[in-house]
Amino acid sequence: MIRKIVYGVFILIIIAAIAIFMSNYKFGVDKMDVGKYYLDNTVPQTGAANVVTSVTLFYRGFDTLGEVTVLFTAALGVAVLYFMGENKRKQKLQESNFVTKIGTRVVFPFILLTGAYIFMHGHLTPGGGFQGGALIATGFLLLYLAYEETSIDRKKFYLVEGLGGLTYVIIGLLGFFMKGSFLANVLPNGTLFDLLSGGIMLPIYIGVGLKVGSELSNIIDDLMCEVKCEEAGGEE
């Protein structure tokens, strides 16, 4: 009992500290510093309509490269942790019913199409590589739930993932050799609201979308696999 009170006081102190800090920032008041610069300069400098995408990929592209690396490390960690275990459980899952199977077969290509649309239009509409990749992985999750015997071909997924990551780094190095700084804009900006606009954002987001989709599908495959893990091979 006394322990819970001590912990409660501790939590209250943390919350009060954050609240006192937050009292400097009133809700709903304009307090932009660097955001002003981004909003004013996105269209002339990058040619993208979505300012969030331009901040993520253009002004802070190096951070996003780090984020992709974190995601890759997590997928690798999940795979390694599951190969360490013995994986002896072989329980039979319940067979899914007719409606789910047929419906999955109908819906699955549309889910992939929507995911591809979202990550290709990341610089024009809300969305981008991470959201589209997550949507694609959700499609594979649906496939796993409907058909028990599903197993993705891990070699091909690793290939797609590697190509996606390689696109990012190669575009960054192109900027380094042609313009003198890593991830500099080497492609023309194009006209606003065109699909082929936004400079390096379109190829980078396609790469990120493929990479995130295959990575999250690999994580799902690792979590779902019962015995298949051992025969699939684990080297990257």
Binding site: L12, M22, F27, V29, T56, L71, V78
Partner: protein
């Protein structure tokens, strides 16, 4: 204002679960709650009254009518990293269960405190 208060409340609930609960999955749920609360806090800092989303369209071409894009970009990063961290934590939980046969951290001897 209520956005700040509820974000702080969600963070508090998460810290409570992280400290008090003894079940490993409940602890991960606490971590996830803290992450959600902090995302809500950061996005609500960036909100400005009466302005729209930071996306140019044919109707909205005026940059002075948009909310701050920087917190949204940061939160985007945070959500993706949170999901991958959570997958890693779930893998650890499953492995610990295979080794010790329980989810109670008092019974997992090398984690006792």
């Amino acid at each position: 204002m209520i956005f700040y208060i509820s974000a702080l409340l969600i963070i508090g609930i998460g810290i409570y679960a992280l400290i008090i609960k003894k079940n490993l999955i409940k602890i991960i749920i606490g971590l996830d709650l803290i992450e959600t609360g902090i995302n809500l806090l950061i996005v609500s800092i960036g909100y400005v009254n009466g302005k729209t989303a930071p996306i140019f369209s044919k109707d909205v071409m005026n940059a002075s009518l948009m909310v701050d894009p920087v917190p949204q970009a940061l939160t985007l990063t945070s959500i993706v990293i949170g999901a991958s961290e959570l997958a890693l934590a779930a893998a650890f939980v499953v492995l610990l269960y295979r080794k010790y046969g329980t989810l109670d951290i008092r019974k997992i001897r090398s984690l006792r405190w």
